[in-house]
């Protein structure tokens, strides 16, 4: 397994080996699915749309519908205007969505297709909406694409029409429907009215009833995204995926942005609750304090199962930053922290966290899994936290893997279960602790196998 990876590190400028990121359009497609009644549309070759739908379907194990402009060589030469206009007409008459969210690809970006003009020239039935985001695959990563589509939602839809709604906007970031549900539950417990967008819960974790619904009941309502311009504040969870959308709302509608880390772990969740409490002058209810106390109880009981263990974390920047914070709270040592998404801010923030904790670790943005494996070869870790792609390194280097993030292609149920909030923290502790204990059991001599641990 990965046996051609040498321990010796060679600086690379040309080749990426085993990427820890993918391209923008899939993030835009995922965000679009978080609008109720939306059909994402990929403006490029049909292979892009196919790849993105496949990948999202594998992660969520749920239908992922999206259409494509199906470029041919002719369209690549003469421009994709005719394709997009035909597509918009066909989509509304055959699939009847409320809204089409167009994203571009490296093909349509390279030839410079002018999407707003094409949309203006399209036949759009009354009451229907078409929005677009530019998502060139050669800039940023899938997280950038998610962020760009969130920004597009604000640009096209949100308005301030003078009637404050006393709501808080929540941009949840590139997380699972299970996380979005958990955030909504917390808002309900806090008794704070909110508008969450995008919201893929009820779309990508819809129930099986025997009746297929092309547009399941979940997703942010268009009228709510519109109304987001009247909210008192926007809480953006994860700066990479959500800050731009919040900033756009500030520019467009003077909605106060609050940018936080993804609420993973104790402090991550504390910060989220306190920010909401400050914004709304509402007290944090007993129910959430009880949940927090339960996690603290667990951490006191189990700390010796993971404290001091060395861990390598990789994945998307917002989730990785938040996870790094949590493993530090657990007393673990995040020796290697890596994201495929480019961004110096990631390196700065994680470096700062490690320095504060007195941990000497390596941090890299725009990195790949080949680098991560080489780091691990040079200095082994006890645990790997990341996506399914980590399983090859886990096997090659014989370390347990805890699957967190996007994508998870080889295990089910994960997308229904939160990692955010105190409940998410409880789940993460269970996963991390169990992974380490199972490894200990596997390696124990007969006389050392413990019944009670």
């Amino acid at each position: 397994m990965l046996d051609r990876t040498p321990a010796e590190y060679i600086e690379r400028k040309g080749i990426v080996i085993n990427p820890a990121k993918t391209c923008q359009p899939i993030g835009a497609m995922y965000a679009s699915l978080g609008i109720h009644g939306c059909l994402p549309h990929s403006h490029g070759s049909q292979g892009c749309c196919s790849y993105h739908r496949m990948h999202l379907s594998r992660h969520f194990r749920d239908p992922v519908m999206a259409s494509t402009s199906s470029f041919t060589e002719g369209a690549a030469v003469f421009g994709g205007g005719a394709n997009l206009k035909t597509a918009i007409k066909n989509i509304f008459s055959i699939y009847n969505p409320d809204i089409i969210a167009v994203h571009t690809t490296c093909l349509s970006e390279t030839i410079g297709d002018d999407i707003p003009t094409y949309i203006n020239q399209s036949e759009i039935p009354a009451g229907k909406v078409v929005i677009h985001a530019n998502t060139p695959s050669y800039v940023g990563s899938h997280v950038t694409g998610f962020s760009n589509m969130v920004k597009a939602m604000v640009k096209y839809l949100s308005v301030k029409d003078g009637k404050p709604n006393n709501k808080v906007n929540i941009i949840p970031g590139f997380v699972n429907p299970g996380d979005m549900r958990e955030i909504k539950r917390i808002m309900k417990v806090l008794k704070i009215e909110y508008i969450m967008f995008p919201d893929t819960s009820g779309v990508l974790d819809a129930p099986l009833t025997g009746k297929y619904e092309m547009y399941p009941s979940g997703g942010a309502r268009i009228e709510d995204i519109r109304d987001a311009g009247n909210s008192m504040a926007t809480v953006a969870l994860g700066s990479f995926a959500s800050a731009d959308g919040a900033e756009e709302l500030r520019k467009k509608a003077k909605v106060h942005p609050v940018i936080l880390n993804t609420p993973i772990g104790i402090k991550g969740t504390d910060d989220f609750l306190m920010a909401l409490s400050r914004l709304t002058s509402k007290e944090i209810p007993e129910e959430l304090e009880e949940e927090r106390g339960q996690v603290i109880d667990i951490m006191v009981d189990l700390h010796d199962q993971y404290q001091g263990q060395k861990v390598a974390i990789f994945g998307d920047p917002d989730v990785v930053i938040a996870l790094t914070g949590f493993v530090l709270e657990m007393g673990m040592i995040p020796q290697f922290v890596l994201t495929g998404t480019p961004g110096e801010a990631f390196e700065r923030q994680v470096d700062h966290m490690l320095k504060d904790a007195g941990v000497e670790g390596k941090v890299k943005a725009a990195g790949d899994l080949f680098t991560l494996q080489q780091w691990i070869k040079e200095s082994p870790v006890d645990l790997l936290i990341g996506t399914s792609y980590g399983k090859f390194i886990a096997r090659a280097e014989d370390i347990p893997l805890v699957r967190v993030g996007f994508p998870i292609l080889d295990r089910g149920v994960h997308s229904y279960m939160p990692v955010v909030g105190y409940r998410g923290a409880m789940r993460l502790i269970e996963m991390i602790s169990n992974a380490l204990l199972e490894r200990q059991d596997r390696d124990a001599l007969d006389e050392d196998l413990e019944l009670i641990m």
């Binding site: 892009c48 470029f71 690549a76 025997g210």
Partner: protein
């Protein structure tokens, strides 16, 4: 049935209706002239198609499984990333082999600056680094959409790299926008392998030597097929391309017969080897008991050696003894049920044999990227009109190779055999289907939805994009691209595994729990209320 089909497509706008009606055939074997279908034409923009692109057909399908090459996707990160480890084309190092790079994904990860100023420099750098780290014998470069648009000359880079590093470097200009489906990519991959790999080896091979073409070792399929072939006494010179290697493919011209499993993706190589080296090809199908036994007998007839024929029958008997009781057990569960299929360019045909083993009828079958000959047979080839999209894909002009051309079968014997076995011939899918069943090209989401409603198949087999919508309808769906991560399904053992998996799917207890009990029985019964005296 025709009326019901009309009702489904009448819901389309006029232009879409006009287009789609040509892609649907209600099978009528009693028809006076052969039924025709439109295929391999542009997808209608906006349609929720399942089709992929040229890159997916070239890198993803044909050359992706080649293990002894560092395959660099030249472009932004997505294309390389999505085609990494997602197709289940298994590979392992065989004796004497050194390189298997299939766990690795290599990409130039082009950035905005590269798109503006050109990506050749970065590609050169990437090759230098790959050579320094991995010391490969072979490198393959695959282009993605923007590479073609910015005009990077990957062939020139490949020539430069061959000289510099003294290794084989192949360049595939398989930009996603070329052609109308993955099929264009198959052709481009076939061309490059033919031009630069096949015929460059000098291995000595035996009399009963074959190549297995269009077999990608999904879930271990080719290992099971090779097991049977070797058991009979055949020598497998190369497999294209499952668990394949440049090292072996270069000797492909030495084999005495080409076996074509997936016709669509590899027919070009089969034809070109036939023209250049004189090797005949035989359309085989190692999927489903009838398909396997027929194919093995056809092979025996081709080589026409009594010992080989006897051994073939021996192996068939032995294998059947082992698997038939298993299949029979599951057949009892599946018999009488119906199946619908929408898969690539050959499986919707091959898998009808496996359903037949289980006593199941195929009521609908469609291909994603087939051409007319996949449906109607090779008779139709002279009548297929070239269009703007197909013209862009190069057709190689092949001449017989003076040194290596030979005739395996005498003219007389060839004439005699060609009416008995599918020699250099493929009859297409329509001919094996029942009257009233439906053949659909490039089916889309609306049609899947509607046809399931009217045909009510017990199982719908397709890919991951179709699987979950079908499940939501309460109908079982099985992926026939990835086999839902089990398999192999080819060969005798594969047939038994398939039977087990289908029966498991049919009998999963969860299907009886879809409706909550309170929806199935009246719940508002009178409740006991204490009498107030």
């Amino acid at each position: 049935m025709k009326d019901r089909v009309s009702r489904i497509i009448e819901q389309y706008p006029a232009k879409v209706y006009k287009n789609r009606k040509e892609h649907i055939v209600v099978v009528d074997q009693d028809c006076e002239s052969p039924q025709t279908i439109t295929a391999n034409t542009r997808t209608i923009p906006g349609i929720i198609t399942s089709r992929g692109c040229c890159y997916a057909g070239c890198k993803g399908v044909v050359i992706g499984p080649i293990k002894d090459a560092v395959t660099i996707t030249h472009g932004p990160i997505g294309c390389g990333y999505y085609s990494w480890g997602t197709r289940r084309n298994k590979a392992r190092l065989e004796e004497g082999e050194q390189d298997n790079f299939l766990n690795y994904c290599f990409s130039t990860d082009l950035q905005e600056g590269d798109i503006v100023f050109g990506g050749e420099k970065k590609l050169r750098q990437a090759i230098d680094e790959a050579v320094e780290i991995f010391h490969p014998q072979n490198i393959m470069i695959c282009s993605t959409c923007p590479v073609g648009l910015i005009g990077d000359d990957i062939k020139a880079v490949a020539n430069w790299a061959e000289q510099k590093h003294n290794i084989k470097v192949l360049a595939f200009s398989c930009e996603g926008y070329k052609g109308v489906t993955q099929s264009a990519g198959h052709h481009i991959a076939n061309n490059e392998l033919m031009k630069h790999v096949i015929g460059t080896g000098e291995a000595e091979v035996g009399k009963y030597s074959v190549n297995l073409l269009g077999e990608y070792n999904i879930g271990g399929d080719s290992w099971e097929i090779e097991r049977i072939l070797k058991k009979i006494g055949y020598e497998v010179v190369s497999v294209m391309t499952g668990n394949g290697s440049i090292e072996k493919i270069k000797n492909a011209h030495k084999a005495n017969l080409n076996l074509v499993q997936c016709y669509r993706s590899i027919n070009y190589i089969a034809d070109m080897i036939h023209t250049k080296y004189g090797t005949d090809w035989l359309k085989v199908n190692f999927i489903g008991i009838e398909g396997i036994t027929q194919s093995l007998r056809d092979m025996a007839r081709y080589f026409d050696d009594p010992a080989l024929t006897a051994r073939t029958e021996e192996v068939i008997t032995e294998e059947l003894e082992e698997v038939m009781p298993v299949i029979e057990k599951y057949r009892r569960i599946c018999e009488g049920k119906t199946a619908a299929m929408y898969v690539g360019g050959s499986r919707a045909l091959h898998y009808q044999y496996l359903f037949q083993d289980l006593g199941m009828e195929t009521v609908l079958a469609g291909f994603e990227f087939a051409h007319r000959d996949d449906y109607e047979g090779r008779e139709v080839l002279p009548f297929i009109k070239e269009d703007a999209d197909s013209k862009n894909i190069e057709t190689l002009q092949i001449e017989p190779d003076e040194q290596n051309y030979r005739v395996v079968l005498s003219r007389e014997k060839y004439e005699q055999l060609k009416d008995q076995i599918p020699l250099n011939y493929f009859g297409g899918m329509i001919q094996i289907m029942h009257n009233g069943s439906i053949v659909l090209d490039d089916i889309n989401h609306h049609e899947i939805d509607e046809f399931i409603r009217i045909l009510k198949p017990d199982i719908f087999c397709a890919g991951i994009k179709e699987k979950y919508p079908v499940h939501k309808m309460g109908i079982m769906s099985k992926q026939l691209h990835s086999y839902d991560y089990t398999g192999p399904y080819a060969g005798f053992k594969g047939a038994a595994t398939f039977a087990r998996d289908i029966a498991l799917g049919m009998t999963a207890p969860v299907w009886n729990m879809v409706q909550p009990p309170w929806k199935l029985e009246p719940m508002l019964e009178g409740s006991f209320v204490e009498e107030v005296g």
